[in-house]
């Protein structure tokens, strides 16, 4: 038998069928051996910091205690705890690297240990909102400086000299006057007895002495394990006696099981049991949808068993959800006024009096995260104790929710955080871990719940669907004098509270009310929209539709007035200034406006930088076009130029992408580049293909054949990334998400330049064909 002839193998995409830094286990002794103390949030005083962040306002705030995060073994191995979840941003390396930098540890002798979910101990662990570096750069430096100080004090005592005479340098403490040296390992025991210095008194390193921060020479700690198959994701956890479960869930959000027949499933070899899973009525935050679980000796048998189930569902109140009809509803709502969220001047009157009004109605459908690792979790519940192994972005939240769901105390729940095979916001919701916990409790055995790709697409927490309608009024000279933006989209808040029809502050704050243009008359409105499925955070969230609409409109205004896109953009941004929108409680990504203002000088700068480096205005071949877009999100500034090529048949390709980012002070420029390269591909995926549709309440797509993402053969040929060097005290800002929003509008503006066709509805799909 030849494999090429195997018809089963030729289904689908047939044409293509053909760290740990130190592995020695050391008995950890010394720093960190005793339980740490926890400083109440907010812990960072104004004196200790050049700037304030919103970190203290996150659940459980920040913990700055070296005994919680750092331990030094007698053999000199320094173990640093990474308390955020690794989903591909490099955070499991970056945050411990900051500690190592500040404590003068030699990175080759550092071991990273993943924290379990415990926010009282470690502080907030929600790995989302592009917050990790922005909230933890200073706390991690303080932790490292504390550990360094304790080691220095221990050495000084040993030598009987003043602490000011000694200095930690590359994993040892040196007394230069006498030439004496002691390794960190030799000092571990004594250093642990030193009191933890006060945060206010800590001396942080001079950035000019940094060995790692801002350099980009350190690879991620999991690099070797990833390339050898040893890296452990949620799906890879195996426990003795573990059962494998796959669940049939209601196909419509809010639906319920009426009856099921398990007989055929039980006949499948390897299937051991069929059982009902508890579900919660919609909406109920992240609680499981319920359904029927097939328990088997391996995942393959469980999937086959589930295929054999006979199931009857009551579709419930969302059984009529239909994307075609819903789009019409959103469009109609966008044509009438809605809740006014920002009002400056009188946009209605100015639009009436304008010489010319340009109207754009932009549509972006639901999107699915489709992280390469679909949701999966292992649970082992014994009596009133539960242990979970899962790829979760919210280890602390998972712990709380497992405790609540099982009705046991939170301290009886251990959440082990594995690597995440992608997250993109999906794994901020721990429903899959709750399912595993419920099943393990009932079975009295460890259980792995594996979602199939179809489950992931059918039963996820989708990116919202939105119509963004912008009307721009121009005077006789072509100057924009009025801007009315109506955003209509079901809110993420609808997953928490029934009857939600308006977007939440964290959604309207993503590019709607914080729009930075210098225009006299502005109105930002939010007409009502009710949700009919679970809506959730998707990388970049509402910034995706907002940047698409706002930056497409800039292109449209340039087009209508015969101006260069980049010049038009800079004119609309206007003078360098701090924008203070007339908005009640501007969200600002949870950050204080003093530290993180809306700064148009920085916005202009990334446009100018990308225009220069990306050779804006360069001559491109026939059928090619350049487009530009800029967007501030997650308090970072980012501008992208896309070169597109559209052939005679309307097939598009992207020869080149240039992106400039200003994310303030940064840790690892190499990982910033990888995030931006990836963001271009995610942006292209959603622009070109991304669409989840509903009919009769059910998602119509099922897998990568009908919910397509960009593959290598249609990915951008080259993405160049330029990072704005930070000022001396520029606070760090987001990196994981900001890259996505400007891509689609830059592409759409490029397509207009190449073809004269203006796309207002995503995905592009077949719109360019003939």
């Amino acid at each position: 038998m030849n494999f090429i002839d195997n018809p089963r193998r030729l289904r689908g995409f047939e044409k293509h069928i053909r760290v740990e830094k130190v592995s020695r286990r050391s008995i950890l002794k010394g720093l960190g051996i005793t339980g740490g103390f926890v400083l109440a949030a907010p812990v960072m005083s104004r004196q200790a910091l050049a700037y304030e962040t919103g970190a203290g306002k996150m659940p459980h705030g920040v913990v700055v205690d070296p005994r919680v995060f750092v331990s030094v073994a007698p053999d000199g191995i320094v173990t640093i705890v990474g308390h955020r979840s690794e989903m591909g941003t490099g955070v499991r390396t970056s945050l411990p690297l900051i500690v190592a930098e500040e404590m003068e540890a030699d990175w080759s002798r550092v071991k990273v240990q993943q924290a379990h979910g415990d926010e009282v101990k470690f502080g907030n662990q929600d790995t989302d909102g592009s917050r990790s570096t922005r909230h933890y750069l200073i706390p991690m430096r303080q932790i490292g400086a504390s550990a360094r100080t304790m080691l220095e004090q221990a050495a000084a005592k040993r030598w009987g000299v003043a602490a000011t005479e000694v200095k930690a340098v590359n994993h040892e403490v040196v007394h230069s006057a006498s030439g004496r040296k002691l390794g960190f390992g030799e000092l571990a025991g004594d250093a642990a007895k030193e009191s933890v210095p006060s945060v206010e008194g800590l001396k942080l390193k001079d950035p000019k002495d940094f060995r790692y921060l801002g350099k980009g020479q350190v690879g991620i700690v999991d690099l070797h394990d990833i390339t050898t198959g040893k890296a452990r994701y949620g799906a890879d956890v195996r426990l003795p006696g573990m059962k494998y479960a796959v669940i049939a869930r209601p196909p419509v959000t809010g639906g319920k099981l009426v009856k099921f027949e398990p007989e055929e499933a039980l006949k499948v070899p390897g299937v051991e049991k069929v059982m009902q899973v508890q579900g919660w009525p919609w909406p109920s935050k992240f609680q499981p949808l319920g359904g029927v679980a097939v328990i088997a000796r391996n995942t393959g048998a469980a999937i086959k068993g589930r295929d054999a189930l006979k199931l009857v569902w009551d579709d419930g109140p969302n059984g009529k959800y239909d994307s075609v009809a819903y789009r019409k509803e959103l469009e109609e709502a966008s044509r009438k006024s809605g809740l006014v969220l920002r009002k400056e001047g009188d946009a209605d009157a100015a639009l009436k009096g304008a010489d010319k009004v340009i109207v754009g109605e932009y549509y972006i459908p639901h999107l699915a995260h489709v992280s390469m690792e679909p949701p999966v979790a292992v649970a082992d519940v014994k009596g009133d104790k539960a242990e979970i192994w899962a790829p979760v972005q919210s280890p602390g939240g998972t712990r709380e929710d497992v405790a609540k769901t099982l009705g046991i105390p939170e301290q009886n729940v251990t959440v082990n955080v594995t690597l995440l095979g992608g997250g993109f916001g999906r794994k901020s919701k721990c429903d899959f871990a709750l399912e595993a916990a419920l099943l393990s409790k009932e079975l009295g055995a460890p259980v792995k719940v594996q979602w199939t790709r179809e489950d992931d697409i059918h039963n996820g927490f989708l990116h919202t669907v939105s119509v963004e309608r912008i009307e721009a009024g121009l005077d006789k000279s072509g100057k924009v004098i009025a801007w009315r933006h109506r955003s209509v989209a079901p809110s993420i808040a609808s997953t928490f509270a029934a009857g939600t029809v308006h977007q939440a502050p964290f959604e309207i704050g993503m590019g709607l009310v914080d729009m930075p243009f210098e225009i006299a008359n502005i109105s930002c409105e939010n007409p009502e929209a009710a949700a009919h499925t679970r809506i959730g955070w998707f990388r970049s969230v509402s910034n995706i539709p907002r940047a698409f609409a706002v930056q497409s409109m800039v292109g449209e205004i340039a087009q209508a007035t015969g101006r260069d896109q980049k010049d038009m953009l800079l004119e609309l941004i206007g003078s360098p200034r701090i924008v203070k929108p007339n908005v009640k409680d501007l969200w600002n990504y949870g950050e204080p406006q003093d530290s993180y203002p809306i700064d148009t000088a920085r916005l202009r700068k990334v446009v100018e930088l990308v225009a220069e480096k990306g050779e804006w205005g360069r001559k491109v071949p026939k059928g090619h076009g350049l487009g530009i877009a800029v967007h501030r999100s997650f308090v970072s500034y980012i501008a992208t130029i896309v070169e597109v090529a559209v052939d005679d048949k309307g097939k598009l390709s992207v020869p080149r992408v240039d992106t400039a980012i200003d994310c303030g002070t940064y840790v690892n420029p190499e990982r910033i580049a990888s995030q931006i390269e990836g963001a271009a591909i995610m942006g292209l995926s959603l622009a070109k293909y991304g669409e989840i549709t509903f009919k009769d309440g059910k998602v119509q797509q099922k897998n990568f054949d009908d919910f397509q993402v960009v593959r290598m053969d249609d990915s951008p040929v080259v993405t160049n990334v330029y990072i704005v060097p930070p000022g001396p005290d520029t606070p760090p800002s987001g990196v994981g998400e900001p890259g996505v929003p400007p891509f689609a509008p830059a592409l759409i503006n490029a397509i207009f330049a190449a073809t004269g066709k203006r796309i207002r509805s995503l995905p592009i799909g077949k719109q360019l064909e003939a």
Partner: protein, 150 residues
Amino acid sequence: MIKVKINGQEQSWDGDPDLPLLWFLRDEAGLTGTKYGCGQALCGACTVIVDKEAVRACITSVNDVAGREVTTIEGLHPNGDHPVQKAWRQVNVPQCGFCQAGQIMQAAALLMDNPKPSHDQIREAMSGNICRCGCYQRIENAVHLASTGV
């Protein structure tokens, strides 16, 4: 009883002969380096090498590989120093890393077949492997590097 050689070791299976090789590897043989991403040969996360060819383990049954030699990421090189693995590390390819075992196995199979693939040949051959993080530019660079000697 089906016998199959995995990473040089003889393994046997007396369960459902139609069980996809993917689940046999992961759940029965404990070789979790090979990943599940779609179950339909659409994403390539489960790519292994059977004899000398890249195969999607999710739609290949255990029976299909009876008497054959299966190589997974764990068996590609004893120390993880296959030129493709070394190139991957040199270029810092992975983000989340979940798809990378499949990518590496596909790249290793490509280079067995075509030791010096062109830009277009790499993009074509690697297009069955999805990376949602979007590491394609680096994957291409790493394949080039592996083909020219690391």
